[in-house]
């Protein structure tokens, strides 16, 4: 059944199809529609869940942690400042290995007060032990939400579904809503083998001495390692059942590409448009979309980008004092490729605080990389020094 719906409701429908059992959330723009819809679904009986009203995002996550620890399927949604307020408890969920699914609407952080999109809220949670999956379309939002529960429960890790404020959250577009019975077959009821049980009480999260803490961290790291393959399997099964798959990474028209643009979130769609236009003119331009940020898809990135002469990474985020976060991580992932296979990587910081990323902005990035690549190639041809990777990311579409 196809329906025209906003991205927020695509999340709600995903949660409903996944039959979440506990939903605890606190409202915040631009997320509120998600839980409003879920509250209605819960109230009118379409979703057999317990909806817990809480007084803050911190409490929302605490409620989800408690619920997930008892073995039920728990969901919450938040954005920006709300996510930041949750930070401490994100670690509890992460190291507690609780398969909570949370939707975060990427919204810039204050001050100045902003309700518009960028990725700094979620990227600030990079090290909390959550899987992070970024979405490009409302369809992908719904699909990833359901997939997220299966992935989470397979590897016992919490999963964050990430979508751009307004460009997805408040934009209506057609979404194919899968049949409930088919989703049930894909995602059976959660079977938690390690959970709080009053009849067999164990202490969870109690004092952990130096003798074991490091091993716990290792177990978590191993789980993240397995999450890569687990997501591939979940995504494969989804594609078999529903005809749509996404992959941790997607290569779009990268065959024989001279320059590959790397994007995440909704910038990807507009970049596809630019790539199509360039390809129509015979230019060898491609695109790599990064969907999974944690665990970082190092292997697929190396496969996709080695042999590409130049890469332009568009970051809708900034690590102050360093640069675009995706660019930095991609450079690190590709650093030890042999020199001949290691691309030149330019980083561009765009679209912060909801600044529009138009085809013109993307083309600006593309042309800058084309020029720097040409200069580097000329230098190499003249027997110059080994080319250097750009040290500083360039801000594009910004007033000086």
């Amino acid at each position: 059944m196809k329906k025209v719906m906003v991205g927020n409701h695509a999340v709600s429908w995903g949660v409903k199809l996944a039959r979440a059992e506990v939903i605890a959330a606190y409202p915040i723009t631009p997320q509120t529609q998600i839980v409003e819809e879920l509250a209605e679904m819960t109230a009118d009986g379409r979703l057999a869940a317990r909806f817990i009203k809480v007084e803050s995002e911190h409490s929302a996550m605490a409620a989800c942690i408690g619920a997930a620890a008892t073995g039920v399927r728990a969901f919450t949604a938040t954005s920006s400042q709300g996510l930041l307020l949750m930070h401490e408890l994100l670690h509890w969920a992460g190291l507690g290995r609780l398969p909570i699914v949370m939707a975060d609407i990427n919204r810039a952080v204050a001050p100045g007060w902003s309700i518009w999109t960028d990725q700094n809220d979620t990227l600030a949670q990079r090290d909390t032990g959550w899987v992070q999956l970024y979405c490009e379309t409302n369809q992908e939002v719904l699909d990833t939400t359901v997939q997220g529960f299966k992935l989470a429960e397979t590897v016992d890790l919490p999963v964050m579904i990430v979508l751009d404020a307004f460009f997805l959250s408040h934009t209506s577009e057609p979404v194919d809503v899968p049949d409930q019975a088919e989703v049930d077959a894909f995602l059976p009821r959660r079977e938690a083998r390690l959970k709080l049980d009053v009849h067999d009480p164990h202490a969870f999260g109690a004092l952990t001495t130096p003798a074991v803490y490091m091993e716990l961290r290792l177990r978590q790291q191993e789980a993240f390692d397995r999450a890569r393959e687990a997501f591939a399997a979940v995504d494969r099964e989804w594609a078999e059942r529903f005809g749509r798959g996404y992959g941790a990474l997607e290569s779009y028209r990268t065959e024989d590409a001279e320059i590959v643009l790397v994007t995440s979130g909704t910038i990807t769609s507009t970049t596809r448009h630019v790539v199509n236009e360039r390809r129509a003119r015979g230019e060898r331009i491609g695109l790599v979309k990064v969907k999974m940020f944690r665990p970082f898809p190092t292997g697929p990135l190396r496969d996709a980008l080695s042999h590409v002469p130049a890469v332009a990474v568009l970051d809708r985020n900034i690590s102050p004092g360093h640069g675009g976060i995706f660019a930095e991580e991609i450079r690190a992932a590709l650093y030890d490729l042999p020199p001949g296979r290691r691309p030149r990587i330019d980083g561009y910081v765009v679209g912060l605080g909801g600044r529009d990323v138009t085809p013109a902005v993307i083309e600006d990035c593309l042309e800058r990389t084309r020029r720097s690549q040409a200069e580097a190639a000329a230098a190499a041809a003249n027997g110059g020094a080994e080319r250097e990777i750009a040290r500083e990311d360039i801000w594009v579409g910004v007033k000086p």
Partner: protein, 191 residues
Amino acid sequence: MREMRIHGRGGQGAVIASKLLASAFFLEGKDVQSFPAFGVERRGAPVTAFLRVSDGPILLRCEILAPDDLIVLDPTLVQAVDVTAGLKPRGSILLNSDQPPEHYARLVRRFRVATVDASAIAAAHGLGSKTQPIVNTAILGAFAAFSNLVSLESVCAAITEDVPTRAEENVAAAREAAGSVRICAAAELHA
């Protein structure tokens, strides 16, 4: 691909209009994308909503700066804001107004203009209040008749499906508006 912009005032239903129109196009097999102006809304303040329609997949996910078509839910907005900003040459403008399109001489010179008294029609069908009629469904009926981009039947089907209350009155208003839209003679010339 065609891009459209709807102007209204907070509370008039501009955002709903963009969603309904998206649904109507979707029913005809088009890919659609509709969104409000991203920001904070207040009752009475000027608001805009947007719509992209395409035969193939829509890839652009950025704002609409140069629309092909405009729908204006409140005639007073013509004085309040530059509704034609970025409108493509010979773009279309559908105004909710009790005046004939020729009344808007400056617009008629540059664009294809049509008017419909959606306020009176909505009020007659009991939509909203006499002083604040909800005009969005009526004007969509007029848009179907004026633009020839989407059928009146699809607009009515979208209303029936998506409007939670008083769907019948809304459909009736859309049909009446479709029959009473006034298109500037020059507009037909341009077309």
